[in-house]
């Protein structure tokens, strides 16, 4: 008898003595290890039946694990791709509607910077451009970015140099644009000079210094823009915002990125910016849409899983009921030899728990393994086709906890009825059972 039992008994004895009564000595209960061993032996003694029952639970849990791993994994992959270049604390600002065109000029930028929680504001402009190379004229878009904007938007230079002043006449082009300009090897364009001509909207230039439709000018190609995400098929060029500002008297940009600190209320900042006439977007809008979509998928999976698990549970209940019928005399002799109701109850509940946990572990392993296998197979073919490898399998920690809780519930729910029946069976009735 352990110390806790001794303390418990002495407390109970004292209480009974207080009322002048003698406490009944009902001995101790069977050891947990013994009950577990007997339950395990019974499962092992009926190999085929136990295998089929555990297999049924395992298949159910396995299918749920497989679907959930895929569901969560694909959701995470999509969100990861969306947020890769767009951190959630960055607000996209654009210049409103056509009826209410407003530019991100120095004044509006200062106003935004003064909003509580805003840590940085960077702007961008896009203008029409024509490039002239040999006899070719190529219409394209020229983006003017601040270096801060490039950093926030994760716009990377593939090749070339960036160590020049922001007002210098240098430009980056996409590999495709370089090829159209006659450089079959895009890298060869770096350091070369091409002619260009810009077309700028009046709304974003200083009208007092208006110099639209200027002559063609020469500009040096400083490098190539990384365009891997579009498989190098884009046609655009990038230069520094200050270069365009100085050369073409820009007064503002059409787009911007506003960074807010993590603690700040992004929605409140957005609303303040929108009050100035700008439109705003945040990646959290997209993430919310994606999450809403996947939530519907998850509900469908839960319904599907519930149906599968109901079938498994019925199989388990059937097995345990048959097991009770087959072991009625065992229950009888155990009770005749002094086993208490609680011990018999535990024996059947543990048997249900062993079946359910074995099925749970087996199913989780198989389901997760199958999902990982599918991911490996997908990546094998992706690599063969020159695509990047991706991970679209994920099992959240709370799902593992939910599975453990579920198998515990399954064991208890299916075991309780046979266990209660066994514990209530009268020893003599059980011994006389044919």
């Amino acid at each position: 008898m352990n110390i806790i039992s001794k303390i418990k008994n002495s407390i109970l004895d004292s209480i009974f003595n207080l009322f002048g009564k003698e406490r009944e000595d009902i001995g101790v209960h069977m050891k947990f290890s013994v009950i577990t061993l007997i339950s395990y032996r019974n499962i092992a003694a009926n190999k085929i039946r136990s295998f089929l029952t555990i297999g049924g639970v395992g298949i159910g849990i396995g299918i749920i694990t497989f679907l959930i791993s895929l569901g969560f994994g694909i959701q995470e992959m999509v969100i990861r791709e969306i947020t890769k270049n767009n951190p959630s604390n960055v607000i996209e600002v654009s210049n409103g509607s056509l009826e209410n065109l407003i530019t991100l000029n120095d004044e509006t930028i200062d106003k935004i910077k003064n909003i509580e929680g805003v840590t940085r504001v960077e702007r961008a402009v896009n203008i029409g451009v024509k490039f002239y190379s040999s006899d070719t004229k190529i219409d394209s878009v020229l983006y003017g970015y601040t270096r801060g904007y490039m950093e926030m938007a994760n716009i990377r230079i593939k090749e070339g140099r960036t160590d020049f002043g922001d007002t210098e006449e240098k430009i980056f082009v996409t590999p495709k644009l370089a090829q159209l300009m006659g450089f079959s090897n895009p890298s060869d364009i770096i350091g070369k000079t091409v002619q260009y001509e810009v077309i700028i909207s009046e709304d974003i230039v200083d009208k007092s210094n208006i110099e639209n439709n200027r002559e063609k000018e020469d500009i040096e190609i400083a490098g190539l823009i990384n365009d891997d995400s579009n498989k190098n098929n884009s046609l655009f060029a990038v230069t520094m915002y200050d270069h365009l500002k100085e050369d073409f008297h820009l007064i503002g940009g059409q787009a911007g990125k506003v960074e807010v600190n993590i603690q700040a209320d992004t929605n409140s900042v957005r609303s303040r910016i929108e009050q100035s006439g700008f439109s705003t977007e945040s990646i959290s809008d997209t993430v919310q849409d994606v999450n809403a979509f996947f939530n519907v998928i998850k509900i469908v999976m839960v319904v599907f899983g519930t149906i599968i698990m109901s079938i498994s549970a019925m199989g388990m209940l059937n097995t345990l009921s048959v097991s009770l019928l087959q072991r009625t005399r065992e229950v009888g002799i155990l009770k005749a030899l002094g086993a208490k109701r609680a011990d018999v109850f535990k024996m059947f509940i543990f048997e249900a728990a062993i079946i359910s946990f074995s099925g749970g572990i087996l199913g989780f392993g198989l389901g997760y393994g199958a999902a990982r296998g599918a991911n490996l197979l997908f990546n094998y073919f992706a690599q063969k086709r020159g695509e990047d490898i991706v991970s679209f399998i994920s099992v959240p920690f709370y799902f593992v906890i939910a599975i453990i809780a579920f198998v515990a519930f399954l064991g208890f729910a299916t075991g309780i009825m046979p266990a209660r029946r066994a514990s209530k069976t009268h020893a003599l009735d059980a011994l006389r059972y044919e």
């Binding site: 009944e24 009902i26 032996r41 065992e330 002799i333 030899l337």
Partner: protein, 243 residues
């Protein structure tokens, strides 16, 4: 005069079958002394097994008291009686029942594990008892692989695991052939003599009456005779009879 082990006071028992109440025992009174080998005899349906089950604490009497070692066992809870049976009484049923998934030696150890011990702690004692009943080589077999006589020997070993002072046996030889029955009876007698255990046994086999030191004869739910006989005298008579 010896110490009273079991006192049965005015035991009445009736069963309710549908609307009908069927009386089985009509006021039974007797005492069994410590160390006695008591046989409950009588024709089938006379109520001996019902009385035995009441003494064992499995069948509640409708009226009366069963006092074992000074305790009125039907005055306590079910769990108390379960613990009392486990700790103080060895039981040999008419047909031995087993935990199928356990080996012979593990089945002998069952009363120990019910009492809160582990198999590891109970098996050494079980090994000594299986040797006592001469079944050591069957220790690791499944119980249902054994013959009826062998199973009853194992049941005897199981009943002795927790050193009880009382053995209750319900026609333990009922399903055995004459030879196996005789061997089991001799074994029970040896244990009764060697360890001074009190034995209460139901039988309706007249050839076994010679083993008892007290014969309680029942008919129609009543005791018609309660006689004490000297074992040595009985055995001598039996031997003479055999000659």
């Amino acid at each position: 005069m010896g110490e009273v082990k079991i006192k049965v006071e005015n035991i009445k028992k009736s069963f309710k079958v549908g609307e009908n109440v069927i009386p089985v025992l009509f006021g039974i009174d007797f005492e069994i002394m410590r160390g006695e080998f008591c046989l409950l005899i009588g024709p089938s349906g006379c109520g001996k097994s019902t009385l035995l089950h009441s003494i064992y604490g499995l069948e509640p009497p409708t009226e009366g008291k069963i006092i074992i070692d000074g305790k009125d066992i039907w005055n306590y809870s079910k769990d108390w009686r379960a613990h009392f049976r486990n700790k103080n009484v060895g039981f040999i049923p008419q047909q031995a029942f087993w935990i199928k998934s356990l080996s012979v030696i593990e089945n002998i150890a069952i009363p120990g594990v019910i009492a809160g011990a582990s198999f590891h702690e109970s098996i050494p004692k079980a090994a000594k008892l299986i040797e006592l009943v001469g079944m050591s080589k069957w220790a690791n077999h499944r119980p249902y692989d054994l013959s009826g006589g062998q199973q009853q020997r194992i049941a005897l070993a199981r009943s002795l695991l927790l050193d009880p002072q009382l053995i209750i046996a319900d026609e333990p030889t009922g399903n055995l052939d004459h030879k196996a029955g005789e061997e089991l009876m001799k074994l029970i007698e040896d244990i009764n003599k060697q360890f001074g255990l009190t034995v209460v046994m139901v039988t309706h086999n007249p050839s076994q009456y010679c083993f008892g030191t007290r014969i309680i004869n029942m008919e129609d739910g009543k005791i018609i005779s309660n006689e004490v006989q000297e074992r040595s005298k009985v055995i001598t008579e039996k031997n003479e009879h055999n000659i």
